[in-house]
Amino acid sequence: MIQCPSCGGGLRFEIETQKMVCDLCGSHFDPQLIKTESGDSTEVGVNAYDVAVHICPSCGAELLTNDANDAVGFCPFCGGASMIFSQIRQQWKPDIVVPFSVTKDNCKLIYQMEAAKSPFVSRKYRKPGSADSFRGIYFPFWIIDADYDDDYSVDVIFSETSATRSVAITDNRFVGHAKGTISYVHDASLHFSDDISEALSPYSLTNAVDFSEAYLSGFYTEISDASIEDYDERSKEVLADMQGEIIGRDSALIDFVEQWGTRYKVVETKTFMPMEEKSRNIRKMLFPVWFMGKKRGSGVTYAAINGATGKIAAEFPLSPLRILLTALGIGGLLFGISFLLPAVTAEVCLMICAASTVIGHLIMERAYQIMMEEKLNIIVKNRDILAWTGFVLMMISSATPLLKYSKFIPFLIVLGVSLFIYTILFLANIIQSGVGIRRELKKKRSVKYRPQLLREIKRYRAFKRIIFIVELLLIIAMVTLLVLRVSDPIYLFGLCLLMVTDLFAAAIAVIRFQRAMSVRRPPQMDKKGALYDEN
């Protein structure tokens, strides 16, 4: 506990004023000037401070507070019922700390706005008070500052097209000089999942101050140090990538390239001679995060808000019941409207079912690709091209009755054939993006992504493949029936029913997949009592 210099009461850090405030006498103090108890004169004493350690008996998570009497309550990482005070310990001081600047009220507001974005999020995440259990936690981060002061060279390969249509490719080498620092930041906590950590970035250091334990009073600290060696390789990779990116984006180089005019097209830019780090400086930082874990079945969902910028990363499982009720509601409404419409033939019913299921499959495939992009940072190429192709084809087919077809059948065939072509294109795209995603997943596997997630993705992809093949077969059957002019309603309606079933199965699968993606397994202890993170 940090005592008030005026009255001896407990001080806490107030986010609104960025000052230490005493609840007893109401005085305000500058946190940098507050003297703390644990600073004795030994070398260890100067570089360390006292903390009260609270341990979760079910997952082994440790939360640190300034005061042993601070209540901790349930564990934010596994949703366990309580955390138990274990000991007072000396903790090495980090170099810098970024104080909280987002207040808890703001944090709740940000969370509720995010939850309100989707009407299909389970009630558990939307009801009032659902954001009450947010905790202000300082997470440990490593900062690697790499200094550069070096010459580099860039090869820019132009293709040159002159009026006589001859093509020449020229290789131009540029040299330049770069001086400065690039910093790499990574969280040093096992409990702070990497995907959430990435989603909360950038970690702005503009408010960073020299560490003082005064900033921590009233909040929690999480110190499950991952050693800096774990991130050494990755930092070198990222820093090398960044070098190239920064040099390539440099205005001096871009201007130079542009002055060659439009007759030249840049084919390739290659950075040669990567710069050597002149020196590498490693610092440790505490960064503020509003964090909340909610139990969900046997798993847990996390919500985190960057305490400096207010950026949110939260997991909201969709509620299948809500989606189903919405589907039934819209369906009921449409059924009611249908009494105003003339009866339709079985062929028309089949066409509408086919068009609707293909659109439904397309939307679910997009949803999958977006989830992949956002969860695993996989870029899916040509995601929108097919959506547009499909849209245009649909519009063309729907416009065919306007061409005054005296009979209905030719229109149906046109629509059927375009649907057929579209479905094939669609499947081709899925296979193509599937290959891309699989390649990316292989790359990621070794790095850091949750094995459970990879299993889910595999399972979903296998199921989806079956669903798409069934849909394709149904479309082929439909076109065959229409071309052969089979008008027996039993076949046509049977096909409709199969299509609806196929779409329904796909919908259940994609909703299940969304839930599997957003609910993680709680962290668990292994036999030795050490934490391992299967997620």
């Binding site: 001859s166 540029f174 503009t206 440099d250 001096a252 180089l253 079912c353 299921t357 439904g360 977006i370």
Partner: protein
């Protein structure tokens, strides 16, 4: 006094005569006619719907009458049907006349459809300038089978300037088309709830899925462009003195 009595008596007689005469003139139908229509009415034993022919102009022979009734029989599956042949007055609107005929012929029935054929009025063996016409008025199931456009299409397909002589062929042709169209529409109409149920289900499902996975509504963790890097420090890498030091032509090709 006597004068008043006589006036009263005269008034009573007048009222009595009028009350006896007026209903007949309003229905413009003799008891003989009523009886004839009644005799020629067919009642569907399964549905209880009737088919009747009211030939006010008396232009149909008994054979023609029977034949028309025969072709009206299938339509009694869907509701009451009447074929009314009346003389045309210049002022009368065909749809009003059809509704009037429906009320006269099927007073107590809930639904009844009327095929109305108007024959130009003939005075002194000369037709007046008004033309005859064919009009179809539908109620009940038949009304759901026939859109306004379809009704007009059928009526316009027969010769429109009906005289007594062409009435039979016009009526027969209209009834043939009506039968054909109804037979085509009836099964579709029977599947109505099933097909719209399916359509509502599939569209509802697609809409709900679209809503829940629209990018704006999809509540997954959003990807960050600038991971691992502190933006405030990126610009610390300063680039200077970019210059071209060599220029080599790697290859040159001249397509013919």
């Amino acid at each position: 006094m006597m004068k008043t009595k006589r006036t009263l008596l005269m008034l009573c007689v007048l009222i009595w005569v009028l009350s006896a005469v007026l209903p007949i003139s309003a229905s413009s139908m003799t008891i003989q006619e009523e009886w004839e229509i009644e005799k020629n009415t067919y009642t569907n034993p399964e549905t209880g719907f009737k088919a009747l022919i009211a030939d006010e102009v008396k232009c149909l022979s008994q054979e023609e009458n029977d034949s028309l009734r025969e072709s009206m029989k299938p339509l009694t599956q869907y509701g009451n049907i009447g074929c009314c042949i009346v003389e045309q007055n210049i002022v009368d609107d065909a749809s009003d006349l059809a509704r009037m005929q429906r009320n006269i012929r099927f007073k107590k029935e809930k639904y009844a459809s009327i095929l109305l054929i108007l024959v130009p009025k003939r005075t002194n063996n000369e037709y007046t300038s008004s033309k005859g016409s064919v009009f179809l008025h539908c109620e009940g199931d038949l009304n759901r089978f026939f859109s306004q456009r379809k009704k007009e299409e059928i009526c316009n397909s027969v010769y429109q300037d009906e005289t007594k002589e062409t009435v039979y062929s016009a009526a027969a042709e209209v009834l043939r088309q009506v039968n054909e169209h109804a037979a085509e529409k009836a099964p579709i109409e029977r599947q109505r709830y099933f097909s719209y149920g399916l359509i509502a289900l599939v569209l509802g499902l697609t809409f709900a899925i679209t809503l829940s996975f629209l990018t704006d509504y999809n509540p997954s963790i959003h990807r960050s462009e600038d991971r691992d890097i502190i933006p405030s420090q990126k610009s610390h890498l300063e680039i200077s003195k970019v210059r071209l030091i060599s220029r080599n032509t790697l290859q040159q090709s001249k397509p013919e």
